[in-house]
Structures are given as C-alpha cells and as structure tokens.
C-alpha cells in the first residue's frame, strides 16, 4: 500500500487526524490559508507546495501526508497560536516528519533535495 494524503484545517483537526493514524509514518506540510481563488496569503507556501508535491512519490509505503492549513495571516502572526505553542512551529511553510526532530522550514522547503531527504532517509 502506498501513501495517503489527508487535508485538514486548523489545530484541533490536525491533532485529531494525527491521533487517528498512530503507528504509521506521518509527514505534514503546514501552509497559510488559501483564498477563494486558491491562493495562499503566504508567498513562501505558494513556492514550496509544488516542490513538495513533486517529491510525494518518494514517501515510504504506509505513510500519511497531512496537508494542513493553519489559518489566516492574523491567526498565524499571533505568537500564542496553538501551532507555535504546541508544535513549536516557527514559520510557514513547515514540512515535518511527525514525532521526530526532522523538519524543513521556509526556504528549506524550496529545495527538492532536502524534501527528498526528509521523505526517504531515516
């Protein structure tokens, strides 16, 4: 069985989803919300998303890829938002391997090599 994508929005939905997939490798990409035309308020997220999507075929079998919209710009800028407080996210986009210290932040997500390393190496 290959990998599966799940799309979520907001912290509570993210947490619920993660708990549901306990036991499988979980990767998550956090981006700013998209408007009615499908464009994010976060320009770096716009750049990073296609790079990450292009590498998804490298995900290990049984993996879950969670595409998570964190909220609007105001929510994100609040230093006490749940993603910052609980997941220790420092910026968007962030691509991480859940349950490990392995993550890529902001411009690191633009680099296909690094994304591939996160998906394929231990």
């Amino acid at each position: 069985m290959g990998w599966e994508e799940v799309q979520v929005r907001g912290y509570p939905e993210f947490v619920r989803t993660v708990q549901g997939y306990h036991g499988r490798p979980i990767f998550a990409l956090f981006c700013g919300d998209k408007d009615a035309e499908g464009r994010s308020w976060c320009p770096d997220c716009v750049t990073a998303e296609p790079v990450v999507r292009k590498e998804l075929h490298n995900l290990p079998d049984e993996s879950i890829f969670i595409y998570c919209l964190v909220g609007d710009r105001a929510y994100w800028k609040d230093p006490n938002n749940e993603f910052r407080k609980n997941l220790k996210l420092t910026g968007v986009p962030t691509l991480l391997k859940y349950g490990t210290p392995q993550k890529l932040v902001e411009e690191e997500c633009f680099k296909a090599e690094l994304v591939r390393m996160l998906f394929t190496e231990d």
Binding site: T100, P101, L104, E113
Partner: protein, 496 residues
C-alpha cells in the same frame, strides 16, 4: 586445507583479495576531499571545503557500544559529550536553584523530585534536531554524506561499509582523518558486559540509580557531579590523583567541594572484577576493588557502574598501515606537523586523535577550518594551540586559560612567577547561605615579562562565561598592571 572461493559473489572484495589496489589516476579521483569522521573537526572541515566548490564526502559511522548504544551525525561533542553533558549539568544546577529559591521567597508545597526519563528525552530530542540540522547543512552545501565505516585500502582509496555490510570504494585527492576517540574499558572481568560509559549515559533509558563512577578525569567528575546533583547516590573510585594535567591546587578544591556536597570518594583503589547480582534496569552490580598501595580488597554494590578512565583514538582499524600513515603505537594518536599534515602528504588529521594537542571541540573546528582554508583558499594561518581556554563543568565550575601553577613553575622557574589569588563569595550565594569560602580565582604572572598573565584559573558559578573574555585578553598579552587598571563590574563574580 582447500577452500572454495566464490569469486562472482563480491567483485569489490575481489579487488582486495587478488592483488594490490590499483593506483587511481590523478585528476580522475571521485572526490577532491574525503573526510573520515563526522564530528566537530570533520564537519567543520567538510563545510569549509564546500564553500570553495570542492567535491567533498563525509563518512561517519558509530560502532555501537557493548551495551548497544549508538547515535547520529555530529560526533562525540554533540551526541555523547559536551552538549548532553552541559544540559544535564544544567539540570542539576536547576535542582540546586530550586532549593535556593525558598530563601528568596518562593514557596512550593510539593516535594521537588527529579525524573530521569523526562530529562533524557528532552536532551535526546534536542540532539536529534542537531543531527538532522547537520544532515540538512551537508546536503544543502552538496557535501555527500554516507553513514558508513571508512577505512583506507590503498593509496588515495577508502572502502566505506554501511550498517548492512554493503561496501563501496571511493578515491580522493586528499583525506582528512577526524575519527575521534571512544571510552576505554578496564580490561577486567565484567567490564564490557555490565559497565556503561559516557557513550551510554546520556541516552540511558532508565535512571542509573546508585552509581559508581570509575575514574578521575573531567568526564568522571562532571558525570559524578550532575548525577549527585540530580539526587542520586554517587561514589567516585580514583586510582591516584584528580584531573591529571590540570592545576592540582584547583583539582583538589573541586574534589573537596564535591565531597562536601554528597559525592563519596574511594581513593587509591581500582576495580578488579564486576559481577551481576541481579538483572534489571537498573540491576545490581557487585564491584570488587584492590588497593593501589597494598593488598586490601573491598567490595561494594551499585545499580550502575560508569567507566570514565580515558579515551582511545579510533586509529587502529582504519587501514592506516595500508597507506603508510604513522601513528604512536602506544597511544594510537597521530603525530602531525603544524599544518595538521601526517607523514603522508595528501593525508591530514584533526581533532582528538592528534598527538600533543588539546582535545576540545573548538580546537578541532578551528584546526579543520584553517586547514581547509590553507588547502583551497590560499590562506596561510595556522591553528594556534596556545592559550586555549577550557572549562570543567563540575558542580563548582572551573575555568582555565594558560599555564597551571605547576607547569608555570617548571617552565619559567618558581622565582620568576607570581601568583595572585582570592576567595570570593558570589552575591547570589549569600542569601541562601551557601559556602562562603569555596569560590576561588588565581592568576599566574611572569615577573620577567612585565608580569604578563600566563595562567588564569577561576572556580565558581558560570566559570566558562567568565573565562572566555579573559582568554581574549591573555591572547592580547594582558599584564597584571592592565588587569589592575581595568575597573570591575559590580556585583559579579568576575570582578574579583
């Protein structure tokens, strides 16, 4: 007897078996530089070389300890040395601070207890982020990293074996050996089966409990110090003196402080046998020790025995004989010239494996960087190994730069040196009624050279922070007069 060889099985092995490794053609090497060892020195050198667009490979591999511990990229400092050590030292200091805080007005009704697993998980998590960070940096700078054991098999050629046993060969124009060291074992029955070392301590998945630390190195005393600070029953077994090579006046003060603060010392004994009384995590071990001055034998039971009796360079099994690199057969260390070059011109070495050089992370980093700048950027600066500051993170921290009192007397003559010293009582220790005569500072001056400060020693809180600035001053040729004319900051320990 006749052995059947399956020659088709492993063509790469065949190269080794059937004859000498063919000499690679210059200018067709796989890499400009291969660094063997991904620790402080190796990574610094590799990252620096990448700056000059060189094709670089790093080989890093951790042979698991007898207890099965292993770790990621970054070397000793990051994984099983400086970093976890300082974090656990900090954990112990915070325990002390909690006690002090009551005198400053903080009230808490619950008993304060320490949880080993909580601390260890946090520390390991941080280390994991460092391991990952190094891999990202190397990949980003296009440095090839392989988690494989590197050894020379012929001129300009290394064999890299990964944990699955897959072997690959690589050639390079130049090599840097930065393989570091691993803890030494006692060589007595039960040592490898039952004892742990610093390689195991920082990721131990259970609280070590009542611990016997064997050794009197800074590793032994730092570990004994924080374990005691976390509330554990700790005994240190010392063969002869404390902190060999360090100023003995300071070493004894450190020992006294630790003794007064709950660490037991057994002096002039060495373990001759370690047996398991009960299995468990931790179990119970029985240690039998013999006096170094007579025939007396003693026994003791501990949950954990931590060996910290020295570290040996990883130079004996990396094929140095195949390329003719000379090592000190007794110690395993590699002698190099002042440009970190071994006796083989295209092979260099940095870090703890070097003979007669300080075993410190910043020294390895500096040496690695400057070496690469000389090789690829036309620089000429050599690494300055003189007046390197250090700090020992025992419960009472000790910072030093320059000569010990003994070394100064030997080098310059007792009559030519003047020692200025003072006890001091940190202001923060007054209210909680902590010791008023333990913190201590001394400087050693060369009378013949304008009373130049040639040795700086301080025993007290934040010794490392205090020492760093004075190290820069000493590098600039600080004299006693200049020191005297520098106005102190008040109220801080450093003003003394």
């Amino acid at each position: 007897s006749v052995q059947a060889h399956k020659e088709e099985d492993n063509p790469e092995k065949k190269m080794e078996v059937n004859g000498p490794t063919p000499m690679p053609v210059p200018n067709s090497y796989d890499y400009d530089l291969i660094v063997i060892g991904g620790g402080s020195g190796g990574l610094a050198a590799a990252k620096e070389a990448a700056k000059y667009d060189k094709k670089v490979m790093v080989l890093d591999f951790v042979t698991p300890t007898p207890q099965g511990s292993s770790w990621g990229l970054g070397g000793t400092c990051v994984n099983v040395g400086c970093i976890p050590k300082k974090l656990m030292h900090q954990a112990a200091l915070l325990g002390q601070a909690l006690q002090d805080s009551r005198k400053f007005g903080w009230h808490f009704t619950e008993d304060v207890k320490h949880n080993w697993m909580t601390m260890t998980e946090s520390v390991q998590n941080y280390i994991g982020s460092l391991n990952w960070g190094y891999r990202v940096t190397l990949r980003d700078k296009k440095v090839t990293f392989e988690n494989a054991y590197g050894e020379f098999i012929g001129p300009h050629t290394v064999k890299a074996t990964n944990k699955k046993g897959v072997e690959k060969l690589y050639t390079a124009e130049r090599f840097i050996i930065a393989t570091g060291e691993r803890p030494r074992y006692l060589g007595v029955p039960g040592d490898k089966e039952y004892c742990i070392s610093s390689d195991d301590l920082f990721s131990l998945p259970y609280c070590p409990g009542k611990t016997l630390v064997v050794g009197a190195s800074y590793v032994a005393l730092e570990c004994a110090g924080f374990l005691a600070g976390l509330g554990l029953d700790v005994t240190v077994m010392v063969r002869s003196i404390l902190l060999r090579g360090f100023d003995q006046d300071m070493a004894n003060k450190i020992g006294e402080y630790m003794k007064e603060h709950g660490v037991n010392f057994i002096r002039e004994f060495v373990p001759i046998k370690v047996e398991q009384v009960k299995e468990g995590t931790p179990g119970i071990l029985k240690v039998t020790a013999k006096s170094t001055t007579g025939n007396q034998i003693i026994e003791g039971e501990y949950n954990t025995v931590l060996l910290a009796i020295g570290r040996d360079p990883c130079t004996r099994k990396i094929g140095l004989d195949k390329v003719g690199v000379k090592i000190n057969e007794k110690t395993g260390k590699i002698p190099v010239n002042d440009e970190e070059q071994t006796n083989v011109p295209y092979i260099y070495a940095v870090g703890d494996i070097l003979q007669d050089k300080l075993e410190l992370t910043p020294v390895a980093i500096q040496a690695g960087r400057l070496l690469v700048q000389r090789l690829y950027a036309g620089a000429t600066t050599k690494c300055d190994y003189v007046n390197v500051p250090t700090t020992v993170f025992t419960p009472l921290e000790y910072g030093a730069c320059g000569y010990s009192e003994e070394a100064a007397m030997e080098k310059f003559g007792e009559e030519n040196i003047e020692v200025y010293h003072s006890h001091f009582w940190p202001l923060e220790w007054t209210v909680p009624s902590r010791d008023n005569n333990k913190c201590y500072a001394k400087i050693i001056c060369n009378i013949r050279d304008n009373e130049r400060v040639i040795g700086f020693h301080v025993l007290g809180p934040n010794a490392g922070e205090v020492t760093q600035g004075f190290a820069a001053a000493i590098k600039c040729g600080l004299t006693k007069e200049q020191l005297d004319s520098t106005v102190g900051i008040h109220p801080v320990c450093a003003e003394v």
